[in-house]
């Protein structure tokens, strides 16, 4: 088998109050979309901070295409529930932020950003300040900023968590179409089991603290996916399975 795009190799991380994640082994293949679901405090975001190099794991390694990048920054794209757009930069200005922070913004960067934004539904808003955009539009800009980095590995931490249900579904379909287009490798955190199954090739279920991998469920629904896929018997079956896993671990946690 080819080298996975991302390999999380026996990663553990402890803070003062004990282990947050324990012995996480996870491979993500090139172009794969993998979601992580798990109870609050199961260390999902900690895992993201480790992969992005913001914090060093207590043990284990992070490999990108077989290269050890543990604790190194600047290799992956990263997006949170908060859009973190800079109010003084326009849509294009925000998309090229990565280039601005790494060196200088060249004309080509702006053109590319404008093309990217135009292709994915932000064409009317190129010169708008974030203030003038709706929550969904702002998240699109934040995602474009992540894409513009030219890193094909994207970590998305509950990116649609703050949106209303309808906008959220709209954004999920938008994300599916963009991903199809750009062929990015995506690691996605969510609390929403529906969202995880709808978007992913695999859904990884975490246990409660300390976070461990309880199950790795493949989702075989063919792409491109649409609204109808949300109500197929297969979808419901996957959802039942994932919820049972989540629930079981919630339960044993309270028992202990």
């Amino acid at each position: 088998m080819a080298e996975p795009r991302l390999r999380i190799d026996d990663v553990s991380c402890a803070f003062d109050h004990g282990n947050v994640i324990e012995s996480i082994d996870l491979d993500v293949g090139r172009g794969e979309f993998v979601s992580i679901v798990g109870p609050s405090g199961s260390g999902k975001s900690t895992l993201f901070n480790i992969v992005s190099g913001l914090i060093r794991p207590t043990a284990g390694r992070v490999l990108l295409d077989g290269q050890d990048v543990t604790g190194e920054r600047g290799h992956v794209g990263y997006m949170l529930q908060k859009d973190l757009l800079l109010p003084w930069r326009t849509v294009v200005g925000n998309i090229v932020l990565g280039a601005a922070l790494r060196g200088s913004v060249k004309r080509a960067d702006r053109v590319r950003a404008a093309e990217l934004a135009t292709r994915y539904g932000l064409g009317e808003f190129l010169n708008h300040y974030p203030r003038a955009l709706s929550g969904g539009m702002r998240q699109r800009v934040a995602f474009m900023r992540t894409l513009a980095l030219e890193s094909d590995l994207l970590l998305l931490d509950e990116p649609f968590g703050a949106l209303d249900a309808q906008t959220r579904l709209e954004m999920q379909m938008w994300l599916l179409s963009v991903c199809q287009d750009v062929g990015a490798t995506i690691l996605f955190i969510t609390h929403d089991v529906d969202e995880a199954i709808f978007l992913s090739d695999r859904v990884v279920v975490f246990t409660g603290r300390p976070g461990r991998i309880a199950a790795d469920l493949p989702i075989r629904t063919p792409r491109p996916r649409g609204l109808d896929d949300l109500t197929t018997p297969e979808f419901i079956e996957r959802k039942r399975e994932a919820l049972a896993l989540l629930h079981r671990h919630e339960y044993t946690r309270t028992e202990a």
Binding site: L84, L97, Y129, R131
Partner: protein, 294 residues
């Protein structure tokens, strides 16, 4: 400026004029009702005409006071801003300096004026020091607050994006200081005149409006006293307005929904404005707005 903006602007100006007229009306009413003699409280009209009649005397004095106010204001603003940046970048510096800053403002400014003259003599220096003393504080406190409230996730994001410390400062921290900076500057601008007058009262070799006011007061020239007060007020209000205008120009994103400088892709993405689409005008990144389409 488009027609809508012009309309809002003229409406605001009209209201401001109305407010002054209202103030003058109340002033006159108080004189009438209280049956006050002109040597106790002159009418605003007589104070204004006193200013107009003596403009050749008052003009250099006004200029002197304006100069003290403006110079002190700029020095104070720079000192306050630099202190805030230093304190935010180096926490031990902050712990060291912050108590000193607070103490400096607890000292009654009128009381410190006299010793300043003893140390620095009669002249421009003690006056500038007093204005600076007043202006730097709101600037430093506001900017420091602004820097402290930058979202930690935003800083994390800039790290993930691979930012160096310098670029992070230029692109994220520095622009974030603009809004709090102007809050501080607006407070400073209105207080700066007070500083200049206090300076003149204690330390004036050069004549200014403050010294003029004192001598008019001692010769019981009441209309002249009120004339000087009016001029000082005008300086204070004008400073505030100018700071407000500067704020509007440097922080367009707070009022506008689109940037003035636009990026366009070969003309097929034009929106509004009606100007000829340039093939690719580079959009502004940090609020500088000199551009052909302005």
């Amino acid at each position: 400026m488009n027609r809508n903006a012009l309309r809002t602007w003229s409406a605001n100006l009209g209201l401001a004029v109305l407010a002054v007229a209202l103030l003058f009306g109340i002033w006159n009413a108080v004189i009438l009702i209280g049956n006050l003699k002109p040597y106790v409280l002159p009418t605003p009209q007589s104070a204004v005409s006193q200013v107009i009649d003596n403009w050749h005397t008052l003009q250099p004095l006004t200029w002197q006071t304006v100069k003290e106010t403006v110079e002190g204001f700029f020095i104070g603003a720079i000192v306050g801003f630099v202190l805030a940046i230093l304190m935010s970048a180096y926490k031990p510096v902050q712990r060291l300096i912050y108590p000193v800053l607070i103490t400096s403002q607890a000292v009654p400014i009128v009381a410190i004026a006299a010793p300043l003259v003893i140390i620095f003599g009669f002249g421009m220096l003690p006056k500038l020091l007093i204005v600076t003393w007043i202006v730097f504080f709101p600037v430093a406190v506001n900017v420091l607050d602004g820097l402290a409230h930058i979202d930690a996730d935003l800083i994390n994001l800039s790290h993930v994006l691979g930012a160096t410390r310098t670029r992070e400062f230029v692109h994220i921290r520095l622009p974030a200081t603009l809004t709090p900076l102007f809050s501080g500057l607006k407070i400073g601008a209105t207080y700066a005149v007070t500083g200049a007058v206090i300076g003149e009262w204690t330390a004036s070799a050069n004549q200014g409006l403050g010294t003029y006011l004192l001598s008019a007061n001692s010769s019981l020239n009441v209309p002249a006293v009120f004339g000087a007060v009016m001029l000082l007020t005008v300086i204070g209000v004008a400073s505030f307005v100018l700071v407000g205008v500067a704020e509007g120009l440097t922080t367009p994103w707070r009022r506008r929904s689109t940037a003035r400088r636009r990026i366009r892709l070969s003309g097929d993405l034009t929106s509004g404005g009606g100007e000829e689409p340039t093939p690719l005008a580079l959009s502004s990144t940090s609020g500088s707005m000199k551009g052909p389409q302005q």
